[in-house]
Every structure is written in C-alpha cells, then in structure tokens.
C-alpha cells in the first residue's frame, strides 16, 4: 500500500473526499516522513505545532461537504515568507527570534483553499547567497547526494519536495531561486509572471525582480498550487486549465546556444537538453533553434537592480545588526554601494529594452526551452563560508522580463539531476504547464526518486 506521504495532491484530495483518508492521517504521514529524513536533509527549520489541529479542522470541513480544493493538503513554506505565529528569520541570525504576526498573502491564499501548513523551510540568508555553514540553521542538503548543495535560495523547499517530505512547497525567485534548486534537486519549479502572486509578507530581496511561486513534485501539482495562490478575482488564465493539451502543434524555440556555447556547460546537460528537444518533436511540437538576446546583458541589468534594491532594503538592519550578518551576505550587500540611483535608473531602462528584445526573439514561437543551470549541483566543499560563490545558471533574464517559467527535471549528470526551463509570454502559465506536463508524462525524469 502506498504511504500517504507519497500521494500526489490530486490522489490525496480524491482519497480525502471519498473518505479513504483523513487529513490527520495525511499530515501524520508527512510528519513521520519528516522525522525519518530531516536529520539528513535539514530541509525543515521549524515545524508548525498546530499542524494536526489544522488537519482536524480540515477533516471537519470535509465531513461537512464544504471542502475547498486543497483541503487537508500539507504545504511547507520557505522561511523568507511569513506564516503567522511561526518563526520568520529569513535564514539569518539578524532576525533570530522573530515570530511572524500574520500570514503572507500567498500563505493566506493557500490556507483559504484548505491547505495545512507543515512548517518553515531552510533558505539562503535573506535569499541572497549560500550555502553558508556558519548560520543558525544548517544548510539544506541535496537528496540525491547529501554532499552536494541544493542550490538556492529556496534550498529547503527543493530539498523537502525532492526528498519526499512534502509534495508542495512555497519559494521565492529573484534571480532563479525557485528554478535552480528545482533543477539541482530534480523537482518542478514554477516562477509565475511578475505580480501574478502577491509578494506581501515575503522579505524583499529586490522588489523589481522578486516572485513568489511553488516547487512541487509534478507539473500538475505546481499548476494547481499556483492557481490556489493567485488571488481571486483575477484576470489570469488558470495554470491548470490546459494540462491535458499535450505538445502537439506547439512552436517551440530551442535556445541551445545560450547554454551549449558556454564552456562551463556539462556535456551531460547538453545531451539531456538535445534529448528533450527530440522528445518534444516526438510529441508533435516543431522545434526550431532560436537565438535569444545576449544573456550577459540581462545579467548586467538584473545585477545592478538587485544589488541596489537589496542594499536599500537592508540599510536599517545593517545599522542595528551588522555583526549578525553572515560574511557572504554582507559582502553582497556591500556590492550595492558601488551603484547609485542614476545607474539603477539606466538599468531599469535597459530592463524595458531587453524585455522588448526578448519578446521580439520569441515572436515566431509559442514557447522557448533552454537549460536551467549549466552544471549539476556543486559539492559543499566548493563553498568556504567566507566569500560568495555563484553557480552558473540561465535564470535571471526572466526575472528581468517578468515572463513565466517552468523548470522541470530533464535528466542526470551522474547521480545528480538537471533541469530544463520552459518559457512563455506573460500570462501563459497554462501553456508552459501544458508543455511541461506532456514532457513529464513522455519521459521518466520526474518519477525518479533519490536513494534516501
């Protein structure tokens, strides 16, 4: 018999409605799984002491026949996002002891849909850089190889989902912080269109680039979660509306040059991406090489905006808590002093131009695919906790443009997962999820489980 902790969200929701499972049983199974594995993964930093009481309330709603779509479904939340009554430290000693007064908007939306909050998940300090071994919470570990990082900053979210602790977790993404850990850990990450999900109640890194979104075990679950997180009424097409559309007839641009020409790109990644393009072709999509605008320009505009806004957000905390910052984060904040308001204004002008350039390049296509990261997850030994180390990714351009992107597992390099981005136009979450779902079902990447 399948452990309820391994039920997909649709499977669990059906079992709950048919009375074959209670929310208390489902949440208990998740808590048991966390107890079995979290000592190795360090994905959860705090458990919700009221999780079982919340499950009982969900059971009462189910019994009354008034259950919302996610009633009784366990969800975990990156510790950058507030959950009322739970610790909210953003992974930093600076905010040690802080308890959130209220739910972030995205959490409140999920609660309104009946979700049960299991607890808080590890994050890189203030979502900025990591891993840092000198912080109060140990860094989350990659379920596929515990000696490797998860990527970040939604490190605990990816570790928890890929490690089978929970099917759905919330994360944030300012330069790739949902997508890169999803790729490194072998789960699905969905960065929505800019402003589709409220950022209120999430500690800001760079408000012009910040996005809140789900990490999940499958595309379907990510799409259902995004729909639950999108405040109603709204004009967005539901992400889950066309999941069974397939990939037939889709015009897909393959941005191969964007990663394959980089000497850092792993040969296994290039093979996996070429195989993915072939899979889409087999599914009836047309695959055409596309040259996207210069990646480096997006990184330039994004970096200037991000570092300037991050410094502005932290000025008062720096004044009062300087010694409590981790060294890599403080160095990153220091970078921001190198740019002034005029530089940021010009970066914002470049952001607008680059968005137009990207949309022009994508004009002949419904979607574009490219790699999420250039390598699998690095080992912890590559990080000394003294200085910031960046891992090569291809994610920040879509924080700059605000387009929706789905990262799905695309294969392995040795024992470590790799990810592919599926990029749409603003509001096209339904189309990227349709393509991702078709790819997921045609391949076996997403059903692989780590050896825990």
């Amino acid at each position: 018999m399948t452990d309820p902790a391994d039920y997909s969200i649709p499977e669990a929701a059906l079992a709950l409605r048919e009375g074959r499972l209670t929310a208390r049983q489902l949440v208990t199974a998740a808590l048991d799984r966390i107890a079995q594995r979290n000592d190795r993964l360090h994905a959860f930093t705090h458990l919700n002491p009221d999780a079982l009481a919340e499950a009982d309330r969900a059971d009462a709603m189910l019994a009354a026949g008034a259950a919302p779509p996610l009633c009784g479904i366990p969800v975990a939340v990156k510790d950058l996002i507030d959950v009322g009554g739970l610790p909210a430290t953003s992974g930093s000693a600076v905010l040690s002891g802080r308890i959130a007064a209220a739910d972030a908007d995205a959490v409140a939306q999920l609660r309104a849909q009946g979700a049960v909050i299991l607890g808080k998940l590890a994050t890189y300090e203030f979502a900025m850089v990591g891993p840092d071994l000198n912080l109060p919470d140990p860094p989350a570990r990659n379920p596929w190889n515990l000696n490797h990082i998860t990527g970040g900053s939604s490190s605990g979210s990816a570790s928890a989902v890929a490690g089978g602790l929970v099917r759905l977790a919330l994360g944030t993404d300012t330069g790739g912080s949902i997508r890169s850990p999803s790729a490194y850990c072998g789960c699905v990450g969905l960065k929505p269109s800019y402003d589709r999900v409220s950022r209120a109640g999430a500690f800001p890194l760079s408000p012009a680039l910040d996005h809140t979104g789900p990490l999940a075990a499958t595309v379907e679950e990510a799409a259902l979660a995004l729909d639950a997180m999108t405040a109603a009424p709204n004009d967005w097409r539901p992400a889950s509306a066309r999941l069974d559309r397939g990939a037939e007839g889709l015009r897909i641009g393959y941005a191969r040059d964007w990663f394959a020409q980089d000497l850092q790109a792993s040969p296994a990644l290039i093979r996996a991406m070429d195989d993915a393009a072939a899979s889409f072709s087999m599914l009836g999509a047309s695959i055409t090489p596309v040259s996207l605008p210069d990646y480096g320009m997006f990184e330039a505009a994004g970096s200037v905006i991000l570092h300037a806004e991050a410094l502005a957000e932290h000025l008062s905390l720096i004044r009062d808590h300087l010694p409590r910052y981790g060294r890599p984060v403080l160095q990153c904040l220091a970078f921001g002093t190198a740019v002034d308001a005029e530089d940021v204004q010009r970066a914002r002008m470049a952001q607008a131009c680059l968005t137009q350039d990207m949309l022009a390049a994508m004009a002949p296509f419904d979607l574009v695919i490219t790699a999420t990261t250039l390598t699998p997850a690095l080992p912890f030994s590559a990080f000394d906790g003294e200085k910031a180390v960046w891992t090569p990714m291809r994610t920040i351009p879509f924080n700059v443009t605000g387009q929706p992107v789905l990262s799905v597992p695309v294969g392995f390099d040795g024992d470590l997962p790799l990810g592919m981005q599926i990029i749409g136009r603003r509001g096209d979450e339904d189309l990227i999820c349709a393509a991702g779902n078709a790819f997921e079902r045609a391949t076996d990447h997403s059903v692989q489980r780590p050896p825990l």
Binding site: L322, C332, F335, K387
Partner: protein, 47 residues
C-alpha cells in the same frame, strides 16, 4: 571606482569589513561597475 571610493561608501553606511572580506567585496563592486558600463554601452547602441 577606486578602492578609497569604495571604502568611503561602505563607511558612510557603517559597513565594516575585515581585509579579506573587503578584498572580496571590492572585487564584486568592480564587477558591478563593469556591468554598469555594459548597460551604458547597450543603451547607447539602442539610442
């Protein structure tokens, strides 16, 4: 941006770094200035 400029900017915000951290931060700051120059060239080409 010179090292002295960068040091002054940090001091104005009360950010104190030891020599090792300062060297790493200054390298990052120089990189960010190079990114600014890249943006200026991009916008000039667009104009």
């Amino acid at each position: 941006m010179t090292e002295a400029d960068f040091r002054a900017r940090l001091a104005a915000l009360g950010i104190e770094l030891d020599a090792h951290a300062f060297a790493a931060a200054f390298k990052g700051a120089q990189h960010l200035r190079a990114e600014v120059a890249k943006i200026d060239a991009y916008l000039a080409a667009k104009a």
